[in-house]
């Protein structure tokens, strides 16, 4: 990437046994950052521990399933901040349990990534102990569940802050975070083929001056599809 651009988002996804990546870079000042991809769970934990000792905080994590094995891509920033907790390899029940525990301790979910591990959905997530706009999070949603929840949240003025599409045993699921706050106009779309994603990108970015804030890829019947959020720049 051209000089001065910093990686602010990465999503890994496996399609037909091949790992692919979607990423967003921004050209702006900021703290030092580091990124890794293709890490096993053990390597991710080891890197996490090493970078934590150097003052790096995890900013993004993406779990993805390729050829029968889970991998992780992540971004760290060297900066201070509120207390942070990150976990990976959580089952759906384990994630919910930890989510509830974090909520009781004043942590808010900052990021979540769903992915297949074995035959089940698992989650990697980041929590921060800080205040902020009311938020709601859901995971394990099918596409109809996601649409229904999206509509309900929209009716309550919740904005979609993050959505992660992921595939488990060939079926698409969604994990998402909504925040109840004002902000610029935005759009979110899911289950877009690569061509549809590109068309939507062009319509919103070139046509309306929006910028991409979130994108995830996942396998649908052996081809990559995308879920993404755009916001008016």
């Amino acid at each position: 990437m051209a000089q001065g651009y910093r990686l602010v988002h990465v999503a890994g996804y496996g399609v037909n046994g091949v790992a692919y990546y979607a990423a967003i870079w921004e050209k702006r000042a900021g703290p030092p950052w580091q990124a890794r991809h293709g890490l096993t769970g053990g390597q991710y934990q080891q890197t996490f521990n090493q970078l934590s000792q150097q003052g790096y905080r995890i900013r993004r994590v993406s779990g993805y399933f390729v050829a029968g094995a889970p991998y992780y891509a992540a971004i760290w920033e060297q900066r201070s901040g509120p207390p942070l907790q990150a976990r990976h390899g959580l089952s759906g029940a384990g994630y919910q349990q930890f989510f509830d525990r974090m909520l009781a301790q004043g942590y808010r979910l900052d990021w979540v990534s769903g992915y297949q591990l074995g035959d089940d959905a698992h989650y990697a997530a980041i929590w921060e102990q800080r205040s902020g706009a009311p938020f709601q999070a859901r995971h394990g949603m099918t596409a109809p569940d996601y649409q229904q929840t999206f509509n309900q949240m929209s009716a309550q003025q919740y904005r979609l802050r993050h959505v992660c599409g992921y595939s488990v045993l060939g079926l698409p699921y969604f994990a998402a975070i909504w925040e109840q706050r004002a902000g610029p106009p935005w759009e979110a779309h899911h289950n877009m083929t690569g061509a549809q994603y590109q068309q939507t990108f062009d319509r919103l970015v070139s046509g309306k001056g929006y910028r991409l804030t979130d994108v995830s890829g996942y396998d649908a019947g052996g081809q990559a599809v995308y879920a993404a959020i755009w916001e008016q720049a």
Partner: protein, 46 residues
């Protein structure tokens, strides 16, 4: 705000997972790419 519910297109054969470089001006310049293979993603780190 809006969201469209799209049917998952199973078996579409015309999709090419070629990396797509995209750029737009905003308060700060930004770029996005998708469909990058590991080596292509690695190459973005220079």
């Amino acid at each position: 705000m809006q969201i469209t519910r799209r049917a998952v297109l199973l078996g579409a054969s015309s999709l090419a997972l070629t990396p797509t470089a995209l750029f737009a001006a905003s308060p700060f310049p930004w770029r996005a790419r998708h469909g990058m293979l590991a080596q292509e993603y690695q190459a973005t780190f220079g």
